[in-house]
Symmetry: C2
């Protein structure tokens, strides 16, 4: 417990900065927020902000990046004998269900999506976050199916398919707000994994 105290404070600071950046951006638009504003809202100096994040965009997206990385963990937590497609569907949709964002404000996910949709300057950072998550998921799948380098290749392609389908679902949902996001994602991922049911090799 002793070693962690410092780390926890560090994480708290990062968390505060990220949330402050997000709140300010939703309120005033990304262009209406300056780094000093964010730093002040989190109670640190601008220099400290830059110690944690390279840009406003990175700060805003950071919680989403952490969130997205969770897919791989979810997948590793599924039973190993479950069909891989089902594992993937459940792993992805778990992040869109209630209670997925633990220490984040309620309704954060929805507001975050809206912000990203409204601010093209966030797209790049957001895509980087999802790409990292896809990479992690690919590794997790590779662990499950094995098969050396060619297995890893297959695994990462599957991860790419799933991530791509998820992205498409989110984009579609952001445009036409019909139904819940979780349902759209579930449908999309089901469609993506339809071709590999049964044959993991």
């Amino acid at each position: 417990m002793s070693v962690r105290r410092r780390d926890r404070q560090r994480d708290d600071t990062r968390h505060d900065l990220a949330l402050a950046a997000f709140e300010l951006a939703t309120r005033h638009g990304l262009g209406g927020v300056r780094v000093p504003d964010i730093a002040a809202a989190a109670g640190v100096s601008t220099r400290t902000f830059n110690n944690y994040f390279a840009s406003r965009e990175a700060a805003i997206v950071w919680p989403a990046a952490c969130h997205a990385i969770g897919v791989a963990d979810q997948f590793r937590g599924r039973p190993a004998d479950e069909p891989i497609g089902e594992s993937l569907v459940e792993s992805v949709t778990a992040l869109y269900g209630p209670g997925a964002g633990q220490q984040l404000p309620p309704d954060w996910l929805r507001r975050f999506r809206a912000l990203v949709a409204a601010e093209p300057a966030l797209h790049g950072e957001y895509l980087k976050a999802t790409a990292a998550a896809q990479e992690a998921l690919g590794d997790a799948i590779a662990e499950r199916i094995g098969g050396g380098q060619s297995g890893a290749f297959r695994a990462h392609v599957i991860a790419g398919m799933v991530a791509g389908a998820e992205r498409a679902a989110v984009m579609h949902w952001m445009r036409h707000n019909d139904g819940t996001l979780a349902d759209a994602v579930r449908t999309a991922v089901r469609q993506a994994v339809a071709g590999l049911e049964g044959g993991t090799r």
Copy 2:
């Protein structure tokens, strides 16, 4: 001929800037290149550079963005009665074959990939380019399969799967340089479309 002259000069300038940015970045690393260097190499002022591109990164990635958008065009050029999976495989791999980069230097694609792999600061811009291409491909697929809004949803999910698989193949190829990039991409896209052969609905 009259209306276009101006536009052509404009395009030439943009092209020169993009290529200069790319060459300088490969030579000195992204961090070793300043905007004035690029502008000077293209024979314009720094202010003009900023009229064309919002950042060095955007300039470097711009040819790749144009290139990637071509997938949708390729797809539209395929016979309408061809199985959709086959159309997709051919559309994507066509961009990796010889002669794909018309007015770009030979070996550009390979060097571009290497640069992006080496410079994380380019990832965001690059992903934005591929996302735009994915969007365009989704629209093209939607035109083919029809089916109103739910058809469009399916179409964009398919585009996401294909784009994700392609991305995974490129990443894999960048790490372990085995075989040709075109082959890796072909294999990956084949895998992605395996589940939807025959059933476009």
